[in-house]
Amino acid sequence: MGGSFDESGADLELVGVTKRFPGFTAIENLNLTIPAGSFFALLGPSGCGKTTTLRLVAGLEEPTAGRILIGGKDVTATKPHQRPVNTVFQSYALFPHMTVLANVEFGLKRRGISNAQALAHEALRLVELDHVAGRKPSQLSGGQQQRVALARAVVNRPALLLLDEPLGALDLKLRRQMQLELKAIQSEVGLTFLHVTHDQEEAMTMADTVAVMNKGRIEQMGAPEELYELPRTSFVANFLGQSNLFTGPVVESAADSITVEVAGVGVKVPRERAQRHAGEVTIGVRPEKLTLHTSKPDSVAGLNVLGPGTITDVSFTGVSTQYLVQIPGLPAITVFAQNMAFGPVAEQGAEVWVSWRVEHGFGLADEADPEPRFADDDDTRSIAVQRRQSLEVELDEA
């Protein structure tokens, strides 16, 4: 590697990577290619293997099987300090006994780069923290520490920058600001970013490509719009935004669409937007694509109608109103209606119909998950906090 910088980001390629820990498999036969210069997000709930993937790429874990290639070179057998990769850790992991400047210089000095100090100041200016170069990390706020951690990684111009939920510890406002800064830095320095997060909004706003991970596998990968508009599995449909899912038998299979029987009504889905075309299939539609009607709409070609049902809940959220509609024989349907008029258009208990355009529907490759959404507090950070608390209790008792 020597004392030179990589000119630009490099491709990352994972070939058949498997990682087993005693008792469980974190990653199962993972194949993944991230092109140079892209901002790639690995999105998934805690325990899905996304952090393990990151650690494998960094070299902090060794794969049980498979190969890891960076810029076409096989790095599977190399140690972390031999890889052109830098990580922004979830806990930032700034060295508490060194100044901010010494932290940023650390990587450069280990590689024997001559003008380490000047480059470190430059990197600190990039994150607008050059004025605190002489302080210790403990004297900085959380957001500042996060930026120092970023500067410490970026200054090395790694072929690949790994971000392990680096924004998890920040409050919402700072988080939005950091998301924009990160994106700006990425386009400025042109590195390949691999960002691991459980925050779907963060992944969608920042990344060019998002891979949704679940139970050690990639469920689906693509541009954020693509994943959102055409989820292929019920996990993706529910983890990335909300979905209304219905399961029923295919009763008609035409050239351009299939018809699925849902609560006694035929619902059409475009053929190319459905993963399966026969037997029991699960179809879905996003809540904002649905329209509420207080009287039965005329059946028009290209429109799916379900109803009548009853509104069981109305919540006003400002830009839109969220309705829950209960139709006999179906799970509760969520409808997001833009507040074009003042206030809700229908009251709780009202009899309504829902409709959507056929081209907005999608058909999934699997069955609807019995538990549609994950508990919000079950993210990596709260697990880490819980672990630390239990450790502290243990230490107190000892």
């Binding site: 070299g59 060295f95 280990r110």
Partner: protein
């Protein structure tokens, strides 16, 4: 006790003191009793120290028990009785050597016990604590008779070996707590930032463990310098300072040993005060800039 534990105690200490004051109230019989009790306790603690310091200035003849007048001769001629200086030098030599060896070994053991799983780790951990729980008389006599059995000539080196043995336990206990509280992601960050395993150890791990290691070394030196019982069994003809004082006590302790004891006492006080002051200054600086 690690520095962290010490800090934790220092933090929790003021709370009970405040409670105590509130309960005793102002001018009640309670506060009078507590005051008198504190005075007596302090007096009892201070009497031997004050005696040692005061009688280091005594113009003593054969014994240093009766006050015969003030003189600086003892302080100016510490080595007039060369057995005092020789035994003191021996104690320093033993203390420093044992501290260095025990601290290095103990730190390595502490890191190994926390970081790695290996065969008989639990057994080794238990065995390490055994010397702390065993009466010194038993350790000393056992070790002494083994040296005799094996035909090892007892002297300074056997004292050093014995001191390393009991110091290691204390070093391991102290440093282990520090290793356990070390965030592993700091070392991972070092590895990630192109540092080889050796560089990670010297530049990240060791500096972060240093407060614990220094505390362990200080504790080890204090224990070694102070030790009489084990030393007495394994020393042969070699004399350490405590052993010299013990032997001399039967004939009359030379006032020079009071001088050395006083000097050690003052040195310790100066170190503690300096450490407190620098810690306070650092806290104020942090509070100002942070």
């Amino acid at each position: 006790m690690t520095t962290q534990e010490a800090a934790a105690i220092a933090e929790t200490a003021p709370a009970p003191r405040r409670r105590g004051r509130a309960r005793s109230g102002r001018g009640g019989t309670g506060s009078w009793v507590v005051g008198a009790y504190s005075l007596i306790a302090l007096a009892i603690m201070m009497i031997p120290i004050v005696y040692t310091i005061v009688f280091s200035f005594n113009d003593a003849r054969r014994s240093n028990i009766v006050w015969r007048g003030f003189t600086l001769d003892n302080w100016l001629g510490i080595c007039d009785d060369d057995r005092v200086c020789e035994s003191f030098g021996n104690s320093i030599l033993v203390g420093v050597t044992a501290t260095i060896v025990a601290t290095v070994l103990g730190t390595m053991i502490a890191i190994a016990i926390v970081r790695y799983t290996f065969k008989m780790r639990t057994l080794i951990t238990v065995l390490l604590f055994l010397p702390m729980a065993t009466p010194e008389v038993v350790l000393g006599s056992g070790l002494g008779s083994q040296f005799v059995n094996m035909g090892v000539e007892r002297g300074l080196w056997t004292i050093i070996v014995a001191h390393i043995m009991f110091c290691i336990s204390f070093v391991v206990v102290t440093v282990r707590a520090r290793v356990a509280s070390l965030d592993p992601s700091l070392e991972e960050a070092g590895r990630d930032l192109y540092a080889s395993p050796g560089q990670v150890f010297w530049r990240v791990t060791l500096p972060l463990l240093m407060p614990g290691i220094l505390a362990a070394a200080l504790l080890c030196f204090a224990l070694s310098f102070d030790d009489f019982i084990i030393t007495n069994f394994v020393s042969g003809n070699a004399e350490t300072f405590p052993k010299f004082v013990y032997v001399a006590a039967s004939r009359g302790i030379p006032p020079q040993s009071n001088v050395i004891a006083s000097a050690v006492f003052f040195l310790a006080i100066i170190i503690v005060v300096a450490a407190q002051l620098s810690a306070g200054a650092r806290r104020r600086k942090l509070a100002k800039t942070g």
